[in-house]
């Protein structure tokens, strides 16, 4: 129908429906008007009043009939029919509350799980920064090294060159996560913030609600511009929403910063997973990063950034340009940039924030919730089949009194829409309630506000609407399909359906149950695999002791210690710690294994090792104090540990790990040989066993250690091997620290086991979510099985009674029912195992040392499935044993 017609007819249709009285009144007026004019005309012809009236009425005909004909001519229309159908559908739902509630619950579960996971994917992977302008054109920017997988940071000079030379992008900006102690009054805490380029707020299009963002040039110099923009939350909670906040001073890491602005509400920065509380310009980098001034150092790859494409530019085009710039940099600065490229990543693949860690989990979750939706649909399908059987008579009567097939179908669709609509609305609510669930599942850590929001935007709404539409069609089509070939005469004659029809329906219901069992089996197998994997990860030795070693650090940087003072204090402190009762040994190290920080890396050269052309071998290393290996329990395979004598005046030394020895020295003994680190030659004095450095899932990789005193950093991590409890050691350490300097504070103290657990928390999240959903799926399948078996028992009363009459005992009947249930389960498990063998490979990235086809996992899933089946069949089976053969057979 054309738009023009709608223009004319819609208002009329609307009036027909909602102003019915007025429309009727107008018709009556129109007809009276007609009569009066006719009477007038008749009078003019010379009739008497009486004659004139009679003739006019006769000519027009019965008013009531005309009114009725007009009403018919107006016809029933879409609006009217739909409202009628909705009203009728609603009455139907209320008449069968059990059916309706169960159906809607199933749908809420299925749709809610889907919507929740999609909203997480939207909020974490696809549109993580709602406050940022044009985030659809945003790409993450990180470096790569030839011959190595994974991403590195970018150096500040390289970033400036990119910014100058990139023509295809609107903006390049830096956002590097950092932390600071924040003391306001006598209350101090650690909080997270970002080191950003001066163009940050302009580039992302976020305008501070108070004050300003950063000005050009504020990211130049060494500690040159102590200004800070604080988050809305920080302003509200810590500064009590002080309207005069701009211009006030706040100490960050012991340097007073001027607060120049307050970021808008619900802007959490640009780091997926954590909420940022402050932003400082890159010129303040030295104050927040422990390893010195890096703005002019092309080999210090520390920044993380983003880039926004110009409209219409593709990622490939931009990547080509960026790579070309990187190649020019390689030529100009071979010493630092050889083999280095810069890569663009879609936001959902961002290598340097939690998008990367959440991606595999969310991928698996998408598949899992699809399964749950299918299982829920199968349940709803089963319910509908039962109800369509019950409504058969109603449908038959309606067809017999003249309802067209199309009209009935529309009615069924409307009822489907009602169910699906309620399910979707409920699902959206569930998703809304669950939008912060991921944070609850992640282990808390001090000073970090986890922020993994679900984002229910129009994409997610559209998707739910799509699911709703499909569900509506299915919900309408199933009963419509059932009523399609109703034999009017036959069905009206007797209410019971033919034996074949019942059998066909039973077959369909059993089929649906087999599908449910199959899908739940796959989910169960997946959940068991993930559990096994988590257990493996957590029981794998990281290569260092975890139970009796604790880790913390002292706020030297924040307290404004310079290098000489820090050296003295660290020396004094380690002596005092070692003398503390219960402490076996203690050692500093720049980074603690599996922590968040990034290891330093350096180009290396080894006597007698010729690297492949075009490749500059680089290796990560850690700066550790004496007794580090003893404290962490990393075995030294040969050579000696660092001692206090290995200080800045002594010859440079290094300890390499086993993998590094194998790669660069092969069978030769590296001890006493030379290794070039940051352009200086050091002598290898020992070989340590391999351990885990950044992730529990990493493969053994080359790594080495240098003495802390020869490559000094302020405020390193302090590791203590102790027999005392965490509380005791924490208290005595704080005493020792305060004895040296009352202004110093301790950061959070945790055991290395806790460190391992935190680093494997994505696996824990995945296991928890998949287990919850697999449990739900199992429950749904059990309900489905229970329904089918109860129905089957009710249908085969005569058969059961006959068996009983012929001498079968209750045990036999129970066995009969359970064996029927198990037969369905067997079919489902068989199909599920076949499909599972192919599908569990999708878990690959989440599994650790577990084959996706692990027979033990499949066996365990099967056992759970069998137990569930028996449980679901017990009640129907018990009902079967209560059959009274005499009564059933008489009926």
């Amino acid at each position: 129908m054309s738009l023009e017609r709608w223009f004319h007819t819609l208002p009329l249709r609307w009036r027909d429906r909602f102003r019915r009285k007025q429309v009727d009144q107008e018709l009556r007026d129109e007809l009276r008007d007609h009569l009066e004019q006719q009477i007038q005309a008749n009078l003019e012809k010379g009739m008497s009043i009486e004659e004139a009236r009679q003739a006019a009425v006769l000519a027009l005909g019965g008013i009531t009939q005309i009114e009725q004909q007009c009403r018919d001519a107006r016809g029933h229309n879409l609006i009217e029919n739909t409202i009628q159908d909705l009203r009728y559908g609603f009455r139907q739902l209320c008449r069968n509350p059990g059916f309706s509630i169960l159906t809607i619950l199933c749908l809420i579960l299925g749709i809610g799980a889907n919507t929740a996971v999609f909203s997480w994917a939207e909020g974490i992977l696809f549109r993580p920064y709602p406050a940022v302008a044009h985030q659809e054109r945003l790409l993450a920017l990180a470096g790569t090294a030839r011959g190595e997988s994974g991403a590195t940071g970018i150096s500040w000079p390289d970033f400036l060159d990119l910014q100058r030379n990139c023509t295809l992008c609107d903006a390049l900006f830096v956002s590097k996560i950092t932390g600071s102690t924040l003391s306001i009054g006598d209350h101090a805490e650690v909080t997270t913030g970002s080191i950003v380029s001066a163009n940050y707020f302009d580039a992302i299009g976020v305008r501070p609600v108070l004050g300003r963002g950063f000005e050009p040039g504020e990211d130049v110099g060494s500690n040159a511009h102590p200004v800070v923009v604080i988050s809305y939350d920080l302003w509200q909670k810590r500064f009590r929403a002080d309207p005069q906040i701009v211009g006030k001073m706040q100490r960050l890491n012991n340097i007073p910063h001027t607060i120049v602005g307050v970021a808008p509400e619900r802007f959490y920065g640009t780091f997926v997973g954590w909420a940022m509380n402050f932003w400082v310009p890159a010129s303040m980098e030295e104050n927040f990063e422990s390893d010195g001034y890096k703005l002019e150092d092309r080999s210090a790859r520390w920044i993380e950034g983003y880039l926004r494409l110009k409209p219409g530019v593709t990622r490939t085009q931009a990547q080509d340009e960026i790579s070309a710039i990187a190649t020019r940099l390689e030529d100009s600065y071979p010493g630092t940039n050889r083999g280095r490229n810069i890569k663009l990543w879609a936001l959902w693949q961002t290598p340097f924030n939690n998008a990367g860690t959440m991606l595999p989990t969310l991928e698996v979750m998408m598949a899992v919730v699809t399964f749950v939706l299918l299982i829920a649909c199968a349940n709803v399908g089963n319910l509908l089949l039962v109800r369509s059987f019950a409504r058969r008579h109603e449908m038959t009567v309606r067809m017999a009194i003249g309802a067209s097939g199309g009209r009935l179908f529309k009615q069924l669709l409307t009822e489907g829409l009602l169910l699906a609509g309620l399910g979707t609305a409920g699902g959206l609510l569930v998703a809304y309630w669950c939008r912060h669930a991921l944070v609850l599942l992640s282990p808390p850590r001090a000073g970090i506000a986890m922020y993994l929001p679900g984002e229910i935007d129009w994409h997610v709404m559209l998707l739910s609407a799509g699911i709703c539409l499909v569900a509506t069609l299915v919900l309408g089509l199933v009963p419509a399909f059932q009523s399609r070939n109703i034999d009017l005469a036959g069905a009206l004659k007797s209410e019971s359906s033919g034996v074949t029809a019942a059998r066909k329906k039973a077959w369909m219901r059993s089929g649906l149950v087999v599908v449910q069992v199959c899908l739940s089996f796959i989910l169960l197998a997946g959940a068991v695999l993930l559990l096994e994997s988590l257990q493996k990860i957590r029981s794998t030795s990281p290569g260092f002791s975890t139970t009796r070693v604790v880790e913390t650090s002292v706020s030297l940087v924040a307290a404004g210690y310079d290098v000489p003072r820090a050296k003295i204090l660290q020396d004094d402190l380690i002596d005092r710690v070692r003398a503390t009762p219960g402490v076996e040994s203690a050692a500093f190290a720049r980074l603690t294994p599996l922590g968040y920080g990034t290891y330093s890396e350096t180009p290396i050269a080894v006597d007698g090792y010729q690297p492949p052309l075009e490749e500059q071998p680089t290796v990560e290393y850690n700066q550790v104090g004496p007794a580090y290996f003893a404290t962490l329990g990393i075995p030294l395979l040969s050579g000696r540990d660092f001692t206090r004598a290995d200080d800045e005046k002594a010859p440079l030394v290094a300890i390499v790990n086993r993998t590094m020895k194998a790669r660069y020295w092969g069978d030769r003994d590296p001890i006493g040989r030379r290794l070039q680190v940051k352009g200086k030659w050091a002598r290898v004095i020992g070989v340590a066993a391999d351990s885990k450095y950044e992730s529990m899932r990493e493969d053994p990789k080359p790594f080495f250690y240098v003495p802390l005193l020869q490559d000094f950093v302020r405020g390193p991590a302090l590791h203590i091997r102790t027999t005392a409890s965490l509380e005791n050691i924490s208290a005595s350490l704080l005493r020792e620290v305060h004895a040296l300097d009352g202004n110093l504070a301790l950061y959070e103290m945790i055991t290395l086991q806790e460190q391992v657990d935190r680093s494997t928390s994505p696996q824990l999240v995945a296991v928890t979510l998949v287990s919850i959903l697999a449990g739900l799926a199992l429950l749904l399948s059990a309900v489905g099985l229970y329904g089918v078996m109860s129905y089957a028992v009710a249908q085969s009363m005569r058969e059961l009674a006959l068996r009983m009459a012929l001498g079968a005992g209750p045990g036999d009947l129970l066995r009969l029912v359970i064996s029927r249930g198990l037969r369905l389960t067997a079919g489902g498990v068989f199909l599920g195992a076949a499909a599972g063998l192919a599908l569990t490979r999708l878990l690959g990235r989440l599994l650790y040392n577990v084959s996706p086809r692990d027979p033990r996992a499949f066996g365990a899933a099967m056992a759970v499935m069998i137990v569930t089946t028996v449980a679901a069949c017990l009640f129907p089976g018990w009902r079967a044993t209560r059959t009274d053969p005499a009564r059933v057979l008489r009926d």
């Binding site: 054309s2 023009e4 004319h8 006719q38 000519a59 005909g61 005309i66 016809g75």
Partner: protein, 111 residues
């Protein structure tokens, strides 16, 4: 009262559209005009006019407006819409085609 049975289906619609095309009219005037033009041959009863008008209105071919008519009374006046004009042209063309064909057949000399 039902529609006159010998009126070809849809013809009444076409006649109404044609009459309204000349000038906006109310129901009574339209019935007078119908009788006058067709010299009562078609025998359209006044009663069957109104359902037809309602139907055409809801198809968007004519639109109605309440206007005051002569002696201080408000009457419903119908006028042709743009859509209605198109429909009228289509039906007129159709009618011409069919009537030519039929009269051709009717005029055939019997052998």
């Amino acid at each position: 009262m039902s529609k006159p049975s010998d009126l070809v289906q849809g013809t009444l619609d076409m006649l109404i559209l044609k009459i309204v095309a000349l000038e906006p009219l109310n129901g009574w005037a339209m019935s007078q005009r119908l009788k006058q033009i067709s010299s009562d041959v078609l025998g359209v009863s006044d009663g069957s006019l109104y359902p037809a008008l309602h139907k055409l209105e809801r198809r968007g071919w004519i639109s109605a407006q309440w206007k005051s008519s002569g002696n201080n009374r408000r009457a419903k006046f119908y006028s042709l819409t743009r859509l209605g004009r198109g429909q009228l042209e289509k039906e007129t063309a159709n009618w011409n085609r069919i009537s030519t064909a039929i009269s051709g057949i009717v005029k055939l000399k019997e052998a």
